[in-house]
């Protein structure tokens, strides 16, 4: 198993606030890596550095390297737009485009890439919705608005939208925090299915979720990476005192 993403001495700022400090971390291919930590520890900032979404916020700054398949996505001549096309992202709150149909939501990324062939679009939309475990529920309503779905369905629609552009990596930024337990468990099952083909990074404030779905876990605190290891080890025998304190619920 090889490293898909390698992060080297990554630092990030919001204005003068030093949000991430010297992060070194690797993510393995076809594995789920969870990033946990209390609010404000920099975990969301970190995941947004992996597809260059951090810098869209005014005053945000990044230094360091993020190597994807050995190539630094922060290299000077690289367009962040291209990076975001190969790395999918699913957000905290389901955010389908409200004026688009289910079909158009899924096809949005492909259309941005200039795809016009109706057959390919049809096929990709169907496949992506199947991969996102949503096809059976919406196959007769593809022309309905994306926001006519329930919250959990909307989130799976967003996953389908991310999958449609055939990324190799998918970033999940607290994808279940706005969902009920049943929808949450469907998304978790889905992530486990998806890891066969994709490299997955998930930020979560829900430690049980990290324990359920992930192969590796990284614990962040105050903008620093405190501990990284196999999920089993982190949850059963954490090496650091603060990791243990967080996991057993002494703070956070």
């Amino acid at each position: 198993m090889q490293n898909k993403i390698t992060v080297e001495t990554l630092n990030a700022w919001f204005g003068t606030n030093h949000a991430l400090k010297n992060i070194n971390l690797s993510f393995q291919e076809n594995r789920i890596t969870a990033i946990i930590g209390p609010s404000g520890c920099g975990k969301s900032t970190f995941i947004r550095c992996l597809n260059r979404m951090h810098e869209v916020v005014r005053g945000a700054k990044v230094s360091g390297k993020v190597l994807v398949d050995g190539k630094d996505i922060y290299e000077r001549d690289i367009d962040p737009v291209d990076i975001r096309r190969c790395i999918g992202m699913v957000f905290q709150k389901p955010n389908p485009f409200p004026t688009m149909s289910i079909y158009d939501n899924v096809a949005a990324g492909l259309k941005l890439n200039g795809m016009k062939d109706k057959k390919i679009l049809d096929k990709t939309v169907e496949e992506s919705l199947k991969k996102a475990a949503l096809w059976d529920e919406v196959k007769n309503d593809l022309n309905k608005s994306g926001v006519s779905l329930s919250g959990g369905q909307q989130q799976r629609l967003c996953i389908a939208r991310a999958l449609a552009v055939e990324p190799e990596i998918i970033l999940f930024d607290e994808p279940c925090s706005a969902l009920d337990p049943i929808s949450t468990s469907r998304i978790e099952d889905l992530m486990i299915e998806l890891k066969e083909k994709y490299t997955i990074v998930i930020v979560t404030h829900n430690m049980q979720q990290a324990a359920r779905v992930s192969d590796y876990t990284a614990f962040f605190l105050y903008g620093e990476l405190i501990e990284f290891g196999e999920t089993n080890q982190i949850f059963k025998k954490p090496k650091e005192k603060s990791t243990e304190d967080y996991i057993v619920g002494r703070f956070g």
């Binding site: 979404m53 975001r84 096309r85 949005a108």
Partner: protein
């Protein structure tokens, strides 16, 4: 401690306050109703004399006392639509720049200046229109238009300066502040999550605006456009000064025209001798009021419908 008494006086104070402000609010409705009623009654002479023909005939002859308002209705609608045609793309561009692209330091002063433009008295804009804009259009804009697009009836005939085109441009200038500032406010309410959804798919800045921001804000932008249309329809002074004030219907934008608001402003003092003349002008006013109200109601219904589609879906 004298609490019960204190409470009692507070209660009656509340009641007085409620009654007074309630009367104010109700007063507006009464005022609007009386306005309608007054215009309707005062225009009865003209309505009896010309009936529906008032709307469809184009003779306006105070000497023979024959009045038809079609040229004014035509002038108002065409000049306002022309204004929208010019103002909407510009306003959208301004709104997108201010909300999406401009750095914070530039956004606030620029927005302020654009809103100030709305506060310029329309007679000032009219003066500028007469002395600067009309000659400019006559000398620099009309010749190429008639050379290259002269095969269209829109750009045929002589151009003396005051014209439908000049009126439309002046109105566009007056529509831009309101349309752009309302559009900007609307666009700024689009949630950041919508922008991020597009960006994460690999959309460029412009693509994000196109697929995520504008569609989300479209009902509000539509409202802003209709507000601008309302302003153009009701605008009187500036357009009167540059449109040429000639009650004729012509396909050419180069020929002078007349609007409903302008004819009232221009001719009201000349009507003393004829009751039918004044009644006809009042009927034009009544029509203008009705048209304005219909535009506003229609806009609101459409905006509500669009909002309902989006909310109903959400």
């Amino acid at each position: 401690m004298d609490r019960p008494k204190f409470r009692l006086s507070k209660l009656s104070g509340d009641l007085i306050f409620k009654t007074v402000v309630g009367l104010f609010a109700f007063g507006i409705i009464v005022l609007a109703f009386l306005l309608f009623r007054e215009l309707f009654i005062a225009s009865s002479l003209s309505r009896n004399a010309f009936g529906a023909g008032f709307l469809t005939t184009s003779t306006w002859d105070p000497v023979k006392e024959v009045f038809g308002a079609l040229p004014f209705i035509f002038g108002t609608l065409v000049s306002s639509l022309l204004a929208l045609l010019i103002a909407v793309p510009l306003s959208l561009g301004i709104a997108i720049f201010l909300s999406e692209l401009a750095p914070e330091k530039l956004r606030t002063p620029l927005s302020f200046i654009i809103e100030l433009l709305a506060a310029v008295p329309s007679v000032i804009i009219g003066l500028w229109g007469i002395f600067i804009l009309a000659p400019f259009i006559r000398d620099y804009l009309a010749p190429p238009l008639s050379t290259y697009l002269g095969f269209l009836p829109l750009f045929q005939g002589p151009m003396y300066g005051p014209s439908m085109l000049t009126g439309g441009v002046i109105l566009a200038i007056m529509v831009i502040p309101i349309t752009s500032s309302v559009s900007k406010e609307v666009i700024m309410t689009v949630p950041i999550q919508q922008r991020e959804a597009a960006l994460a798919l690999g959309a460029t800045g412009w693509e994000t605006t196109r697929i995520a921001v504008i569609p989300y804000a479209r009902s509000g932008i539509f409202g802003a456009v209709i507000l601008g249309f309302g302003r153009a329809v009701g605008e009187t002074m500036a357009v009167t000064m540059v449109i040429g004030n000639s009650p004729h219907i012509s396909a050419s934008l180069f020929s002078p025209s007349y609007t409903m608001a302008s004819v009232i402003a221009n001719e009201f003092l000349e009507t003393a001798a004829s009751k039918l003349y004044i009644s006809s002008l009042i009927e034009v006013g009544f029509l203008l009021l009705v048209v304005s109200v219909i535009i506003n109601i229609a806009a609101r219904i459409l905006v509500w419908k669009l909002l309902k589609v989006e909310r109903g879906a959400a």
